[in-house]
């Protein structure tokens, strides 16, 4: 069994009539870091909350480590830890109490050594007797993570873990995610920061308007959908793109001072006669002088914007 989470035809329509999830099917592999990427309102939180039991689905099934999340909710939930998007803490509890409480709630016997380890890993140990309301936002976020890890879950959901988080915590969090992965914990995180997914994830799912548009290995996704772009900084501005260059579908930018050429980064454009070298040759034949030139590989961000844009452009 290689899937640790198996989602099939999951749908959700809220009482308000909002269809937050169109039938979604998704397999999460054991031990991977999976990033669910999508703009606000795409349905990321809804998906996670259904798997964790906070929201009821309108249809479809979810298996967590082989256990149906409704029928075998006990076994399914004992495996899952959740750090929700919003900071919800018991203001008048101490850090140690609230984290120990979570462990018990999830059906695990007391284990002060383990709790101590979790708190130390999250640099919360010195604050263990502090009341939560006296902590900063970043520390509260750490407490929520400690609560989610207190029962030693094998599946961890992080819903927008770094939204509004400082650099230090962000770095600590990625260290923690990596070391959890080394221990075999499967991690599913949502984000609308693409660089986060780019940095951390093994696989990426892009969700928009309740629909999973793509699920791919990160590298494959970037290769498949990545674009390269050539920019020529001109000496003299052009008012229009000369007809002789129409083969390349160029863009004129910066008041006519920049020529942009976007091309598919995977196929060899030179083979089609529309490669960079033939373009540069034609440009110099036309006597267009340029001061500088650079090429750039499109980031996941560009890919993402493209995908989401294309998806809405299709009138869905």
């Amino acid at each position: 069994m290689s899937s640790i989470i198996s989602i099939s035809n999951l749908t959700k329509t809220y009482a308000s009539g909002v269809q937050a999830l169109k039938p979604v099917s998704l397999e999460i592999k054991r031990g991977e870091i999976f990033a669910l990427l999508g703009p606000n309102g795409a349905g990321k939180t809804t998906l996670i909350n259904i798997v964790c039991g906070i929201v009821t689905s309108s249809g479809g099934t979810v298996l967590a480590d082989g256990h149906d999340i409704v029928r075998d909710y006990r076994l399914a939930r004992m495996k899952i830890g959740l750090v929700p998007q919003e900071l919800h803490t018991d203001a008048f509890e101490t850090v140690l109490h609230t984290v120990s409480f979570s462990r018990g709630l999830y059906g695990r016997p007391r284990n002060p050594e383990f709790i101590e380890k979790v708190l130390r890993d999250l640099t919360l140990w010195d604050k263990r007797n502090a009341m939560i309301r006296t902590l900063s936002g970043g520390m509260k976020r750490r407490v929520m993570i400690a609560k989610a890890l207190a029962h030693e879950p094998t599946i961890l959901f992080l819903d927008e873990p770094t939204a509004g988080v400082d650099v230090e915590l962000r770095r600590d969090m990625w260290d923690m995610v990596r070391s959890l992965r080394e221990k075999g914990v499967t991690i599913i995180l949502t984000t609308h920061y693409i660089d986060e997914a780019e940095e951390m994830a093994d696989r990426i799912g892009v969700i928009n308007k309740g629909e999973l548009i793509v699920v791919e290995e990160k590298a494959a996704l970037m290769k498949k959908l990545g674009k390269k772009e050539l920019t020529l900084q001109l000496q003299e501005p052009l008012t229009a793109i000369p007809a002789e260059l129409s083969d390349w579908q160029l863009d004129l930018k910066a008041d006519g001072l920049e020529l942009h050429y976007a091309f598919d980064g995977t196929s060899d454009p030179n083979a089609t006669g529309r490669g960079i070298s033939s373009l540069l040759k034609r440009v110099s034949e036309l006597g267009i002088g340029f001061k500088d030139l650079n090429t750039k590989q499109s980031s996941l961000e560009d890919i993402f914007v493209n995908l989401v844009h294309r998806d809405s452009g299709a009138g869905k």
Binding site: G53, I54, R77, H88, T89, A91, E93, G104, G107
Partner: protein, 258 residues
Amino acid sequence: MRAPLFNVHGVSAIYRFEMARFTRTIWQSLVTPVITTSLYFVVFGSAIGSRMQDVHGVPYAAFIVPGLMMMTLFTESIFNGSFGIYFPKFVGTIYELLSAPISPLEAVVAYVGAAATKSVVLGLVILATASMFVSIDIAHPIAMVGFLVLIAVTFALFGFILGIWANSFEQLNVVPMLIMTPLTFLGGAFYSIEMLPAAWRVVTLFNPVVYIISCFRWSFFGQADVPVALSVGLTVAFFAACLVAVGMIFKTGWRLKN
């Protein structure tokens, strides 16, 4: 791995969490009923009670003790039962309960158990305070404790439902203040319904609190306004109705899940 049949650690975590709130404010929690009870004795017991006749051979000051206990038991059970579940809903920490491997029955046992424990303790504190002012012989002590627990659990469960239903603190207070307090006052907490004119006596029989106070008072003095079996039957029926309601609430996720 097999699923545990009962999430003992989960229930005990919630129970201890809820009891901690009580013990954190233990002095406030206990001083209030002690002072209130003492005031009742100064006013009803001494000032008024001395001019009142015995009720069925029981001195008036002693006669009001079960009613006093019930009054606190109702409000405290409902308040603690509702607050325990309303508060996490209000601050958002309910997400953890909803995503935990804990069954509805376990959640109810933990929350209602803690709420009922607190009100039973308060009830006994009132009894202890009262016995400093007046001597009380309890005719059926085992039945008395049994009723105390049954009634505390029933109203804590009722409060639990209110806590799930309520969308604001105002709604949380409306039932205890606007319904329970008048029903208790009119429910024979401070008089025997036989002291009322015949017409009012009939009206009173529609007040469910009458049955509860009557059977509780019977456990003290061996006299009841209405048959004890009827009282117990009604209380158990109310308890069962609340239990069914809670079961349906969790099944449908009403007011808890989207």
